[in-house]
C-alpha cells in the first residue's frame, strides 16, 4: 500500500459531511438569535434534549462549543477573559472559556447565540449547576434544573419518580415559555429518532470490536458531535447511516485505523482537545489503537418508546458520570472485555472532578481484577497551560514499551 493510499484509508470520508452538518447547525442556531419564533436554549451535554426538539427549540451546547474552541486552540485566550473577571483558574475550563466567549463574542464561530433560557441537568456534574446559575445572571434569563440524584449503589424508584416529575415540570415550563403546547405524539417521534440515532452511534462504536479496529477513539471524539448536538433529529440518522456504512466497509476490507495494530487500548475521560492530532499520531506510530473510550459511550442511553418519560428518567440518571466508582469500574471492565484491550490510558483532567477523582482507585481495580496495565496522564481538556507535551509523550512511549512484554 502506498503512503498516499494509507492516508486515504485513514481519513474517514464522512468527515466532510459531518463538518457540513455541524456548520449548518451552528449557522441555523446563530441565525435564530433574536428571532422570537425560534427560542434558543443553552443545554448541558447530558440533558434530555428530546423535550426541546419536540417543541422546536434550538438547543445549543456550551460544552460542544468548548471542545470546538479547545481543538481550535483558542480556549486559553477565552478562559483568560473569564479569569480576568474573577473566575478561578481552577474551575472547569469549558465553563471558563464559554463565559469568556460570552463576554467577548470570541472563538472560532464568534460566540454562541444568546440564550432565551437555560436547561441544566446535573447528571454529569454539580459544576454545571453553578456555571448555569452564573449564566442565568449574566444573560438575565430563566434556568431550569433537572436534578438527577447520584447513584451510589442502585437507582432508587423514588429517585426515578423525582426525575420524571421534573420532566413533567419541564414540559409545563416549556409550554409557558414558548406559549406553545406539548404534543405527546411528536415527543414520541423525537424519542424514536433519538433512540435510532443512539442505536446507530452505538453500532458504529461497536465496530471497533473488530481486529484490526477500523476507527480509533480519536475518530469517535470527532464524530460524536452530531449525537450530542442533534440527537432526536432525522439528519443525524442520515449522517450516522452513511458513517456506519463506510466503517463497515473498512471492516470488510480489513482496513486498520492505525497502520499496524499491535496494541488495543481504552481511553478514559474527555479528550485533550488541543492535542488530539498529536496524540493520534503518537499512538498510531507505535501501532497502538485506542479502540474505545468511556466518553463517547456515555451517549448510548436506552430509551423505551412505549414509556419515553420514565425510561428516559432512568436512562439519564444512570449515565457514566452519575454513578459511584464501583459502578464505573464495572462499566470500564465490560469495555475492556468487549473490546479486548491490552491496557488503559486515563486522562486525569483537572477541569473535570466527577470524571477524574476516583481514577486512581479505578486504575487499581483494573489492574487487580483484569491484570491490564493503566497509564494516568495529567492534563486538561482545553487549558493547554497545564499540559506538558514532552512529559506526556515520554510517558506514553514508556507505557507502550511495557506492553511489549
Amino acid at each position: 500500500m502506498g503512503e498516499e493510499e494509507k492516508e486515504l484509508h485513514k481519513k474517514i470520508l464522512a468527515t466532510d459531511a459531518m463538518k457540513q452538518l455541524m456548520a449548518t447547525y451552528y449557522m441555523e442556531a446563530k441565525a435564530a438569535e433574536g428571532d422570537d419564533k425560534k427560542p434558543v436554549c443553552w443545554i448541558t451535554s447530558g440533558a434530555p434534549v428530546e423535550f426541546l426538539v419536540a417543541m422546536d427549540i434550538i438547543p445549543v451546547y456550551p460544552e460542544n462549543h468548548g471542545a470546538l474552541c479547545g481543538a481550535a486552540r483558542m480556549a486559553v485566550d477565552l478562559a483568560e477573559i473569564a479569569e480576568g473577571a474573577g473566575f478561578s483558574r481552577d474551575l472547569c475550563s469549558y465553563a471558563r472559556l464559554d463565559i469568556g466567549s460570552a463576554m467577548s463574542r470570541g472563538g472560532p464561530i464568534g460566540g454562541l447565540p444568546r440564550p432565551d433560557f437555560l436547561l441544566c441537568c446535573n447528571n454529569i456534574c454539580g459544576t454545571v449547576v453553578k456555571w448555569y446559575e452564573e449564566l442565568a445572571v449574566y444573560f438575565n434569563v430563566p434556568m431550569f434544573l433537572i436534578d438527577t440524584p447520584f447513584v451510589h449503589e442502585s437507582s432508587r424508584r423514588y429517585a426515578i419518580d423525582y426525575v420524571a416529575a421534573q420532566f413533567r415540570e419541564l414540559i409545563e415550563f416549556l409550554e409557558e415559555f414558548t406559549a406553545g403546547s406539548y404534543d405527546a405524539e411528536r415527543f414520541r417521534e423525537v424519542a424514536l429518532l433519538s433512540k435510532e440515532g443512539i442505536g446507530l452511534w452505538s453500532d458504529i462504536l461497536r465496530l471497533s470490536e473488530n481486529r484490526p479496529s477500523p476507527i480509533t477513539c480519536f475518530d469517535a471524539f470527532i464524530h460524536m458531535a452530531p449525537i450530542v448536538t442533534l440527537r432526536g433529529t432525522a439528519r443525524v440518522i442520515d449522517y450516522y447511516r452513511a458513517l456506519k456504512a463506510e466503517i463497515e466497509q473498512r471492516v470488510e476490507k480489513g482496513i486498520s485505523a492505525v497502520p499496524e495494530e499491535r496494541y488495543r487500548l481504552l481511553w478514559d475521560n474527555i479528550p485533550i482537545w488541543y492535542e488530539l492530532r498529536n496524540l493520534g499520531h503518537l499512538f498510531a506510530e507505535q501501532g497502538a489503537c485506542l479502540v474505545a473510550d468511556t466518553y463517547t459511550t456515555a451517549w448510548a442511553v436506552e430509551i423505551e418508546v412505549d414509556d419515553p418519560v420514565n425510561s428516559m428518567a432512568r436512562a439519564y440518571s444512570s449515565i457514566y458520570l452519575n454513578i459511584s466508582i464501583d459502578l464505573m469500574f464495572k462499566k470500564v471492565k465490560a469495555l475492556i472485555e468487549r473490546y479486548s484491550v491490552d491496557g488503559v490510558v486515563m486522562h486525569s483532567n483537572r477541569s473535570c472532578k466527577p470524571y477524574s477523582l476516583g481514577q486512581y482507585d479505578i486504575a487499581r481495580m483494573i489492574l487487580s481484577e483484569t491484570g491490564k496495565p493503566v497509564l494516568v496522564i495529567e492534563a486538561d481538556m482545553t487549558d493547554s497551560r497545564v499540559f506538558s507535551s514532552s512529559q506526556v509523550h515520554d510517558r506514553i512511549l514508556a507505557f507502550i514499551e511495557t506492553l511489549h512484554s
Binding site: A85, G86, F87, S88, D90, L91, C92, A95, N122, C125, G126, T127, V129, K130, W131, E133, E134, V137, L145, D147, P149, F150, H152, E153, R156, Y158, A159, D161, Y162, A165, Q166, E169, S324, I325, D326, S348, R350, K353, P354, S356, L357, G358, Q359, Y360, D361, E378
Partner: protein, 386 residues
C-alpha cells in the same frame, strides 16, 4: 481591652475552649464512655436523625498537618478539606466512629465518599443523596423518601427510632441553633465581648460533642458574656467584617485578623453564621418537618433554588460589616463560581472585599496578614473620605 472569654471563666467553659487544641478529643471520650459515633461530611446530613438513633454525629473538619497519604487516591486539584479528611481516615485517626455518613453536596465530596468507603471505610457507610434542588414539591417528596431510607439504615444498625425521639432530637437541635444565633446577636450588640475566633469555635464545637451538652455550655457562655461589661477604649474598636466561605477551621487566621484590627461580626461559614440560621417548619409529621427544615435553611452554594446571592448580600448589609473576606478553599468549585458575582454585588453596595484562598497544611499566615491589612486600610480610607 480584654478580648476572648475573659475573667472568671468556669471549668466547663475552659473545656469548651481547650477542645480547640484537639478537636476530636470530646468525641474520643464519648466513645470511651460507650457512646456510638458517626462521622459525617457536610451540611445536609440530618444530624437530628442520627442523634435520634442515640448516636452522636460528629462532623469531620480538616486539619493543618502536612499530609501525604491522600496522594494515592486523590489528585491535587481537589479541596484540602477532602484531602485531609481522606488522609485522616487512611491513618486510622477516626477510630472512634462506627462509620461515615455523606450528604450530597459537591462533586468532590460525592467522589470522596466512594474513595473513603473503598479504602478506609467502616462497616457502616451511608450516602444520603439530598436533592440539589431545594424548591418544589417533587424535591421535597424525594428528600422525604431518601430520609426514610437513611432512617431504615440507621434502624438496622441501632434499633428502632421512634417518632417521639425524632421530635425530641429536632427540639434539641433547634434549641442549639437558637443559642448559637443568640451568641451571634450578642457579638453584633457588643463586638468586644467575644472574638470571632471564640465565636466561630463556640458554634463549631457543637459539631464535635453531644449536642445537648453543647447547648448547656452555650448557655453558660451566654450568661457569662451577658454579665460582662466591656467598654473598649477609644480607637480600640475593631473593624467589623463579614466572612464568606465553606468551613472556617483556621483559628490562627482568625486570631491574626483580630490582632490586625478586624473581627467577623457575622459570617456565612457553614460551621458558623450559616448554621445558626435555622428553619423551624410549622407543625407536621416528624420526618416531613425534618425534610422541610433541611431544605429551608440558609442554603449552601451546592444547592439550587433559593436566591442565595440576594439573601447573602442582605445578610452582609444587615450585619453592618464594613468589608467582606471571601475565605475559600482552593479548588472549591461551588464557592469559586459564585465569587465574581458576589464581589460585583458588594461593589455596588460600596463594600470592599478581599479573596483569601487556602489549602490545609500549606497555610501562609504572612501573605494572609498582608491581604487583611490591605482590606482594613481600604476601609479606613473609605471612612475618612466620607
Amino acid at each position: 481591652m480584654k478580648t476572648g472569654v475573659p475573667g472568671k471563666m468556669c471549668d466547663t467553659l475552659s473545656t469548651l475552649f481547650d477542645m480547640r487544641q484537639d478537636p476530636y478529643s470530646g468525641a474520643r471520650s464519648l466513645h470511651a464512655a460507650g457512646r456510638s459515633i458517626l462521622g459525617y461530611s457536610c451540611s445536609y446530613v440530618p444530624e437530628e436523625l442520627i442523634y435520634a438513633a442515640g448516636v452522636v454525629p460528629v462532623r469531620i473538619l480538616g486539619d493543618n498537618k502536612q499530609r501525604v497519604a491522600w496522594g494515592g487516591h486523590l489528585q491535587n486539584y481537589c479541596c484540602s478539606l477532602s484531602r485531609s479528611t481522606l488522609d485522616m481516615a487512611l491513618n486510622k485517626e477516626f477510630d472512634f466512629v462506627d462509620g461515615f455518613v455523606f450528604g450530597h453536596t459537591c462533586d468532590t465530596m460525592q467522589r470522596l465518599s466512594d474513595i473513603l468507603r473503598i479504602n478506609a471505610g467502616f462497616e457502616f457507610h451511608a450516602d444520603l443523596v439530598a436533592p440539589s434542588r431545594l424548591n418544589g414539591e417533587a424535591a421535597f417528596g424525594y428528600m422525604l423518601e431518601e430520609l426514610g431510607e437513611f432512617r431504615s439504615k440507621l434502624e438496622a444498625r441501632y434499633g428502632p427510632i421512634s417518632d417521639e425521639r425524632i421530635v425530641e432530637s429536632m427540639a434539641v437541635y433547634h434549641e442549639n441553633r437558637k443559642l448559637v444565633r443568640k451568641l451571634y446577636e450578642l457579638k453584633k450588640r457588643s463586638p468586644g465581648k467575644i472574638t470571632s475566633t471564640d465565636l466561630i469555635w463556640a458554634a463549631t464545637a457543637g459539631y464535635l460533642m453531644d449536642r445537648a451538652g453543647h447547648t448547656r455550655l452555650l448557655r453558660a457562655l451566654l450568661d457569662e458574656l451577658e454579665s460582662l461589661s466591656v467598654t473598649p477604649e477609644p480607637g480600640d474598636e475593631k473593624i467589623p467584617l463579614f466572612g464568606i466561605g465553606s468551613v472556617m477551621d483556621q483559628w490562627e487566621f482568625l486570631d491574626m485578623m483580630e490582632t490586625a484590627g478586624g473581627t467577623f461580626i457575622n459570617d456565612d461559614f457553614c460551621n458558623g453564621g450559616r448554621y445558626a440560621e435555622d428553619f423551624v417548619p410549622g407543625p407536621d409529621e416528624p420526618m416531613a418537618a425534618l425534610a422541610r427544615s433541611l431544605m429551608g435553611r440558609a442554603s449552601c452554594p451546592c444547592k439550587h433554588g433559593g436566591d442565595r446571592s440576594t439573601a447573602l448580600i442582605d445578610k452582609v448589609k444587615y450585619s453592618g460589616a464594613a468589608g467582606v473576606v471571601f475565605f475559600l478553599l482552593k479548588y472549591c468549585d461551588p464557592h469559586s463560581f459564585e465569587y465574581p458575582h458576589l464581589k460585583y454585588l458588594l461593589g455596588e453596595l460600596g463594600v470592599p472585599s478581599i479573596l483569601v484562598e487556602i489549602e490545609h497544611g500549606a497555610v501562609s499566615m504572612e501573605s494572609m496578614r498582608t491581604r487583611i491589612e490591605a482590606l482594613l486600610e481600604t476601609i479606613k480610607g473609605l471612612k475618612q473620605a466620607r
